[in-house]
């Protein structure tokens, strides 16, 4: 039995202790996971990948946590069917290094390559192509998992739609995924052809995205959150496509050059970085420079895929730049037609000088059947907020309300502080999800700090004064 150690999410807030065991790298993974789940104590079990969710989704205080990153085998790559069979602890970085030279690319990548496939399924992550391709889960062809009540399952969207979609976006609470088959897309090069625009304000940003999104596979806007007044919402909007071979400069078109993929990351963020480094003034100066540097319109420039998709991966442990107290990310989606609310929220956060580096704005396409899958059609905004900001708690509680009233929701993989009473209103299918989960895990053996903090994930809230969940069977 391993000694407890403290775990946090990527935001480095709320450390709690759990007994962490490694999934065995060799032998029968499914049997080992099954034994782990069967040995669960009173506070349950949870799988953890690379800890990239920002809040407490991959923590299980006082309980057991299975570190899945040792399950890191790429089992098979099928060039005809454009798919890869991988163990759940494999991260997208490894998959890309393996499949890009073969002319393939994961259908969906979030803002970091350092997420495991298991984590990507549990959070049903999305990328810059959501408006066209949907979420990560929408391109998972099968899931192999262990559930507390139903034992080993092989799920496809066709064979077990309920269980499949409860697991996709289910925050790890339906069981432990140990293997998955994911769809890949064919690419000719590892470069992205980017059309970038600099916009003057929020209206311009939003109308540009609404009008041009459908022409491109990838689309995102980086909002300068320190621009106020008339410049509120000024952004760099980036549209992207996988570059074709004939778009590369002559001389770089050979197969090996065109599909080269060897990002060199790991420039470490120094551990002594003071939390004051990112203050309003340094961030303002940076943003001003970055915004001025961009040309009003720049079409067709080629960018290496890692720089386009995962710019922050270049700095190892970049989450440390926010200092010891950590930070949180607030990400929400609002339906089309609620642009006025979006503007009001951005205005408030800017007015209160919540000093986010940059905010990321994106349009989502249609949602998928996952009851807890975050993306739904409309606008999503994500921003980083350092925890030291004084009145942040009340500000975000008010923002939650505006999001709910507008028919929007927040993203559980980013959350570390949602008002617990609002979860059910944000996810109207939560009850449906609980029913399926209660078939897969009626005793709530799968548990996490996220579930303890948001008791509606356990069962319907009994009026005001929410209590923390307890597993059935304990007094």
């Amino acid at each position: 039995m391993p000694e407890p150690r403290t775990l946090t999410g990527w935001g480095r807030t709320s450390p709690t202790a759990a007994r962490v065991a490694d999934a065995p790298a060799t032998g029968d993974a499914a049997a080992a996971v099954e034994a782990f789940v069967a040995a669960a104590g009173e506070r349950g079990v949870l799988a953890r990948g690379l800890g990239r969710s920002y809040g407490d989704a991959a923590q299980n205080s006082g309980g057991d946590v299975l570190d899945m990153t040792t399950l890191d085998r790429i089992v098979d790559i099928d060039l005809q069917r454009h798919e890869a069979v991988v163990e759940a602890g494999v991260d997208l970085d490894r998959i890309m290094r393996a499949v890009v030279p073969l002319g393939l690319w994961p259908m969906v990548t979030p803002g970091t390559r350092y997420v495991t496939v298991g984590g990507a399924i549990g959070s049903d992550v999305h990328g810059k192509n959501h408006h066209r391709d949907g979420t990560f889960g929408a391109h998972v062809r099968s899931i192999e998992m262990v559930t507390p009540a139903l034992g080993r399952l092989v799920l496809t969207p066709e064979s077990h739609p309920d269980e499949f979609w409860a697991t996709t976006g289910g925050m790890g609470l339906t069981g432990i995924v140990h293997r998955a088959t994911i769809e890949l897309m064919p690419i000719e090069t590892s470069a992205i052809r980017v059309d970038g625009w600099r916009t003057d304000d929020l209206d311009q940003t939003m109308s540009l995205m609404a009008e041009r999104d459908h022409e491109y596979r990838y689309s995102v806007a980086w909002i300068d959150c320190l621009a106020r007044g008339a410049s509120l919402g000024r952004s760099i909007v980036e549209f992207g496509e996988h570059a074709r071979r004939d778009e590369l400069p002559p001389g770089k078109r050979s197969a090996s050059r065109a599909l080269r993929f060897n990002p060199r990351d790991h420039m470490p963020a120094p551990p002594w970085v003071p939390s004051g480094l990112l203050n309003r003034f340094t961030v303002a100066a940076f943003n001003e420079l970055w915004y001025r540097k961009a040309r009003r319109r720049r079409e067709g420039h080629l960018v290496a895929a890692p720089a386009y998709f995962h710019p922050l991966d270049m700095v190892d442990g970049w989450n440390r730049i926010y200092g010891a107290r950590g930070f949180l990310q607030y990400q929400f989606v609002l339906p089309d037609g609620e642009e006025a609310v979006l503007r009001r929220i951005i205005e408030e956060l800017v007015e209160q000088r919540a000093a986010s580096f940059l905010a990321v704005l994106k349009r989502f396409g249609p949602s998928n059947p996952g009851p807890l899958s975050f993306p739904s059609p409309g606008w999503t905004l994500a921003l980083d907020l350092p925890v030291s900001f004084g009145s942040l708690a009340d500000l975000l509680d008010r923002t939650d309300e505006q999001v709910v009233e507008a028919g929007g929701r927040i993203y559980l993989a980013k959350d570390s502080r949602l008002r617990p009473d609002l979860l059910e209103a944000m996810y109207p299918q939560l009850g449906r999800w609980r029913e399926v989960r209660d078939r897969m895990d009626p005793q709530h053996v799968m548990s996490s700090d996220l579930m303890r903090r948001l008791p509606a994930l356990s069962g319907p809230l009994a009026g005001a004064g929410a209590s923390t969940p307890r597993r059935r069977g304990t007094p």
Partner: protein, 254 residues
């Protein structure tokens, strides 16, 4: 489960009629209507305290029996508190304490022993019980209401002062023993606080209020501090006091 910005879901106050304990519970529980469990001896006053808390915006408020001078039952108290709270205990406030009457207690009777057993022995026993419970949860915070009186014990109140010195030292060590367990200990060292306990006494310099102590405690919890002084200036004052020669120190009036 405490969230990233310090909102909690449950608070246990050991010494559930303590004004400072209640002020802390009120501040912690108010924002998100958290559950509060008040533990103490007198059901009548506990019920009154519970009413106050409900009016102040706490969610559910429960009352359980607890006696600082009955250490054998302290572990059961923690279990019982978690049961009525319906889950984890996010914050345990060790708020009980007796001031005693120095002049009377010095000259005999069982007053001095009651102060010592309540403030020190009771705190050791309840502190260990709380630490054990929170350690098994893998998270939580213990707030220990100490006093500047224990920072350097004075002639004028050395029975109370020495009991607080002992309990303060105990919680420092307990905090160190809990590093890496997900559990933290916050020691709160107020100066003279105007409460029922000090009613009729003339206020010492830097006197403060229960509300101010609560505010400083909540900020300390959020910031992950190990010790807070209320008011903060007392930290500096006592840095000087600590080094005064005994002949000078013993003449400091009450």
């Amino acid at each position: 489960m405490r969230d990233a910005l310090g909102a909690v879901q449950s608070v246990l106050v050991l010494g559930g009629t303590s004004e400072i304990g209640l002020a802390i519970a009120e501040r912690l529980a108010g924002r998100r209507a958290a559950t509060v469990v008040l533990a103490g001896r007198d059901p009548e006053s506990l019920r009154a305290s519970a009413e106050e808390l409900r009016a102040a915006g706490a969610g559910r408020v429960e009352v359980i029996d607890f006696d600082a001078q009955d250490p054998a039952r302290h572990r059961d108290t923690l279990t019982e508190a978690a049961r009525v709270a319906g889950g984890d205990l996010d914050v345990v406030v060790v708020a009980f304490g007796l001031l005693g009457d120095q002049t009377v207690d010095e000259s005999g009777g069982d007053g001095a022993v009651r102060v010592a057993t309540t403030n020190y022995v009771g705190a050791v026993s309840a502190g260990l019980a709380a630490a054990d419970h929170l350690r098994r949860q893998g998270h939580g915070a213990i707030v220990a209401l100490s006093s500047v009186a224990g920072e350097r014990v004075r002639r004028a109140n050395f029975i109370y002062g020495s009991s607080k010195a002992g309990m303060d030292g105990f919680f420092q060590g307990l905090g160190d023993s809990l590093v890496g367990s997900g559990v933290s200990v916050l020691i709160v060292r107020p100066g003279f606080v105007r409460t029922r306990m000090t009613e009729g006494m003339s206020a010492a310099p830097f006197a403060t209020t229960a509300a101010a102590v609560a505010e400083a405690t909540v900020r300390g919890l959020r910031a992950g501090r190990e010790v807070v002084w209320v008011p903060g200036l007392l930290r500096v004052v006592f840095a000087v006091f600590r080094h005064l020669p005994r002949p000078v120190w013993r003449r400091i009036p009450s």
